[in-house]
């Protein structure tokens, strides 16, 4: 989701026989539902995978500020402006909580940021799509946050303590995000003018498949899932979550009077789920490897902000050190 393509060992799940006694004890703790804490023993590959996953999650929050930030200055009313700004601010907060969780694993925030900027770490593909009309603020909140919540709620039970605690806080705060987006959609699609209805449908058309891609590749192509699930840093499979998302979203679209851009979408009595078309996975792999519509812009915006801010970070620290030296000298 926010962590779509996290490489774990890449070798599938280790069997108990292959494990060292320490690793076996570690796996037993996880199987008992115990939380792993920063100073506890953990296999190096668990640590590495978690750094990637939490880092990718954090980067997604930060890059995710940009597509919605694109509309803060154009929000149509004072209230909408405040709602949107508070939401994008929350994303910065969530990025911050997650970076702090990653830092407990022995990596610094600056190192993670550098890895994002040098494209050694990824962020969710969804944020490489442009936001073109105000209805996109509705669609992003409704679909993108809706998909994110679906993944994040189970992660509150993940095995790594600091990650689980960050997710608890994030889920609590995010509960208004999806409602905020859907509220915009109601106003436009259900109660709006013809122009607004058109905008709302157009936004759904553009964001539907990218939202489905957020859950990552199909389970059969997802090589890293099994080990991550054994470690309980991934709780559900990609396809499970995608199906759950479709099942919940279709009636919401119907309520809005909008149509999902999928001719194959229909209720399946036998399975009790909706049948739907897979997204175009070649597009997904293009976007994730850097060739999406906004990859270059998003990264250059992040790099510029970071570089432009260097003098500020340096100066604040220099001042703090001077003040500290002064107070030491006075003692």
């Amino acid at each position: 989701m926010y962590a779509q393509m996290v490489k774990s060992t890449g070798k599938g799940v280790q069997s108990r026989n292959e494990m060292s006694p320490e690793d076996r004890a570690f796996q037993d703790r996880i199987d008992r539902g115990e939380k792993i804490e920063p100073k506890d023993y953990m296999p190096p590959s668990y640590r590495k995978t978690l750094i990637r996953q939490i880092g990718q999650h954090a980067h997604s929050e930060i890059v995710g500020q940009l597509p919605e930030g694109n509309w803060i200055t154009r929000a149509p009313t004072l209230e909408r402006k405040a709602n949107l700004l508070a939401k994008v601010q929350d994303e910065a907060g969530h990025g911050l909580y997650l970076y702090c969780a990653a830092e407990t694993l022995g990596v610094s925030r600056d190192e993670l940021v550098e890895m994002l900027h040098s494209e050694r770490m990824k962020y969710s593909s969804i944020f490489n799509y442009p936001t073109l009309t105000w209805a996109d603020m509705g669609a992003v909140g409704w679909l993108v946050d809706g998909a994110a919540i679906m993944n994040q709620v189970p992660l509150q039970r993940t095995s790594y303590g600091p990650y689980a605690r960050a997710m608890v806080r994030i889920c609590k705060e995010e509960s208004f995000h999806q409602r905020q987006g859907y509220h915009i959609m109601i106003r436009m699609a259900k109660e709006g003018t013809d122009d607004q209805k058109r905008m709302a449908q157009d936004a759904l058309n553009r964001f539907w498949y990218p939202a489905l891609m957020m859950f990552g590749p199909s389970d059969k192509d997802s090589v890293h899932s099994a080990q991550s699930m054994a470690w309980r840093i991934k709780i559900n499979t990609n396809d499970e979550l995608r199906q759950k998302f479709v099942d919940e979203t279709v009636p919401q679209a119907e309520f809005l009077g909008l149509s999902i851009p999928d001719e194959n979408l229909r209720w399946n009595e036998e399975t009790g789920h909706y049948d739907f078309s897979e997204p175009d996975w070649s597009e997904f792999f293009d976007v994730i490897s850097g060739n999406g519509p906004c990859n270059a812009e998003r990264l250059s915006a992040r790099r510029k902000a970071w570089e432009d801010g260097a003098w500020v970070r340096d100066a604040m620290l220099a001042h703090a050190r001077k003040a500290q030296n002064k107070s030491k000298a006075a003692e």
Binding site: E37, C100, H319
Partner: protein, 96 residues
């Protein structure tokens, strides 16, 4: 790559509205303690969560070691007489 210019990490503790103890809520980066208090206000009390903030530099915290978990915490397990349910009091005495 050196990170000597990264702002130090601070742990943040907040006392909520109801007079309970300060509780650890998370961490953040700040140049010094006062800056950390202000950042904590902006980051961790956005939803009216707090009435008092403590910050402490993360590296100043001394933590117990996971390998000491047994000797530190197991011995209290069998001291059940510290809990009120250990003592049977006849029902006719009433609530105690």
């Amino acid at each position: 790559m050196s990170h000597q210019n990264e702002w130090p990490l601070w742990e943040v503790f907040i006392r909520g509205q109801h007079g309970m103890s300060h509780r650890h809520v998370g961490s953040l980066h700040a140049a010094d303690a006062e800056h950390a208090i202000r950042n904590a206000r902006d980051v961790y009390t956005r939803r009216n969560e707090g009435v008092s903030i403590w910050v402490v530099e993360a590296e100043k915290i001394t933590a117990s070691s996971p390998s000491d978990k047994g000797p530190l915490f197991d011995p209290s397990r069998d001291k059940v007489y510290r809990h009120p349910t250990f003592y049977d009091i006849p029902d006719e005495v009433g609530k105690m």
